[in-house]
Structures are given as C-alpha cells and as structure tokens.
Symmetry: C2
Subunit: 203 residues, 2 copies
C-alpha cells in the first residue's frame, strides 16, 4: 500500500512519565567494586524476512520513525526533510500479546503490515539476537517465509495509527541495497538478506 506520508508540525517536549520508556538503574558489584548502569526495559520483538517468489523480491516495510528523525535532525541542518525519518525494515512487531506464540505474532504482523495470510507451518524460525545491548537489550526473534499473491488478503499498511508502506526489493538489487547508506535501515534486514543468499544460493 502506498501510504500517505504527510507529517508536519514536528515538536519535542519533555517526558517524565512515559508508559513506553522507563529508565531503570542496575546496581551491582564487579570484582569487588560497586557499579551502576542505567538501562531501559524495552519490549522484545519478532521480525520476518518475506521472500516473494514470483516477484523474486524481498518484501519490506517503510515507515516514519520519530527516533531516527530526531537523530538525523541533530546531524543535518538546515532544511531537514521529513524523509530522513523513514526507515526500511523487515515486517516486525513487539511481542506484547500474552499467551500467543512468537510464530503466531509473526503471522499476525505479516497480515497487518503486508497483507499476506501465511499458514503457521510455512513460517520458519531463523535465529534470535539482541538490539542496543548497551542500554536496552531487547531480543528479536527472526523468522522466514516464502509468499506469493495467492496469500494476499488485503493491502497491508498496518492497523490503528500505523502508516506503513509495503516495499518490494528485487533480490538482484538486495546486496547493493543493504550497503547503500541512502536507504536508512536496520542491521536485522542486512543480516536477513545475507542469510538468504548464503542459505539458498550459496553466496
């Protein structure tokens, strides 16, 4: 879905009572010395590498990320463009749904964000890793699924206030894409593409 991208009137304010970001201080004793380290408790997440076989493309999501925009706004001035806050990511979601398996949450995210209904048995776990280990330490579990248009249920784009654009990256362009800094992206995407190449194409 080509989501409308009209973002304006960006402002920042202080934030002492966030429901989402709750700083915590860890105190511990290391080799006899008292230490402390400030961290936040972030949600774990799932991400899914989607390979669309007939299109020979990977399916990604592109969305506005306030935190990326903030960082870029401190680097690039003047004439900061909103476009700098958009990142290319794997289809993903936080695992805040009690009682659901990670694979089930992955399945729901694929449907909500990208519009494809994939049977659970066609969603395969690759591995898991941590993000921002210095201050957050949230774990992301990575899955893989092959899709085609027979799985199409809707146009994707996310639910509620989400404003997600579904993007197809041709496999033949994927290696250049991950090294091209003009497309802001996560290392999870970069690993996932190379895993695909190594696992299925031996290169």
């Amino acid at each position: 879905m080509m989501a409308l991208k009209e973002i304006s009137n960006i402002r920042f304010c202080s934030c002492h009572d966030s429901q989402y970001i709750k700083p915590k201080r860890m105190l511990f004793c290391e080799n006899g010395k008292e230490r402390s380290w400030d961290i936040i408790e972030a949600h774990d997440s799932v991400a899914i590498l989607l390979y669309h076989q007939p299109k020979d493309s990977f399916v990604m999501v592109k969305q506005f990320r306030p935190a990326v925009y903030l960082k870029e706004s401190t680097r690039k001035t003047p004439n900061l463009k909103v476009e700098l806050g958009y990142t290319f990511e794997l289809c993903a979601g936080i695992t805040d749904k009690a009682g659901k398996s990670l694979k089930k949450i992955a399945q729901e995210e694929i449907l909500e964000e990208c519009g494809y209904e994939i049977p659970l048995e066609n969603i395969h776990k690759i591995t898991e890793f941590y993000s921002s280990v210095g201050f957050a330490g949230s774990k992301q579990t990575l899955f893989f699924a092959t899709i085609d248009e027979s799985c199409r249920q809707n146009q994707g784009g996310g639910i509620d206030d989400e404003n997600i654009e579904v993007v197809f990256i041709p496999k033949t362009e994927a290696y250049d894409f991950i090294l091209n800094e003009s497309y802001p992206k996560t290392s999870g995407v970069m690993f996932a593409f190379l895993w695909f190449f190594k696992n299925f194409e031996g290169c």
Copy 2:
C-alpha cells in the same frame, strides 16, 4: 585478555535523573491527526569487524550487559545465572569524542578493547545502519580491518571500569556461531560475518 568475571549483589532501583537515558516526547501531525511518540536520544557508535589472518579467526569482545541481564531475568527463573548477561559483540564504542573522525574513534576502540594498533589506512568503512528504530534510532558505522600479532600493543580488555574479554571465533565456525542462540549476540555481528563471507569468499 581473560577478564575476571565476578559480578554479584545485583539490584535495581528507580532512575529519574539518568545522565545517559533521557526520554523525550515527539509530537507531530500525521495526515491531519495529532500523534506523539516517546523516544530516547542514544549515542551513535562505531563497530569494527576484525579478522585475524594468521589465526583465521574473527576477534570479538565479550562483556556483561546489564540491560541483557535484566531482560533475561524476566524470562528465566529460578536460578538465574550472571552468565546470561554476557554478550558476544564486535569491538565497538560510542562516538562521543568531539573533533575525532569515526575512523579515529574506531582505531582507539580496537586498541583499548582488543589491544591492537592498526594504521588508519588499514581500517575500511563497510556501511552504516540503525539500531532500535522504534525508540532510539542510534546509528552505527561499521568498519573492517585485517590484523595480526605484529599489531599487538597490549592485552586489551578496555579502559576505566570496562571488563572486556577478547574472544577469537575461528572463521570455519563463524556461521554456526551466528545461528547458535546459546551465544547471545547482536545482529551487527551476524551481518558483519556474512558480509565477510560474501565479500571475500563469495559464499
């Protein structure tokens, strides 16, 4: 360096005035609708994939990460072991040194953490990516260098309070290593290893 790893008496307390984690609220207007998003400003960083040619191994660092320990402590009980808070990472550091190039900071981190003195011209940029785009959006710039014992200056291990263990991962074991969840690690490491294979070995 085989760092001593004696961590005990782990406690948590509230944290309203962190110098390191400063929540911020971004307000913006998306397609006519007022929205807000809570984020933190995290430091950008550099990381370096180090390949030790004579040992045919990648050089990594292993260290205790309070944020990872906290997350694991919410998952695995009882008898939580401190070992669960140790992660395998690329040699890395935050870019908080004003006036120094990213490559220079990378060079200093290699010396401080791993003990090797590498000329700037032997440190090559691979690309850059973002971490935790949902709430932090910090950018990591990834470098690569080939090293051997002629570059050895000290035993590494970090400076000040750092307590870093230098670990060699044989290249022949690296692919199994990145998929093995019993070694907690970042997706940056996983991407970097596969980049090496694709770039230098075509697989």
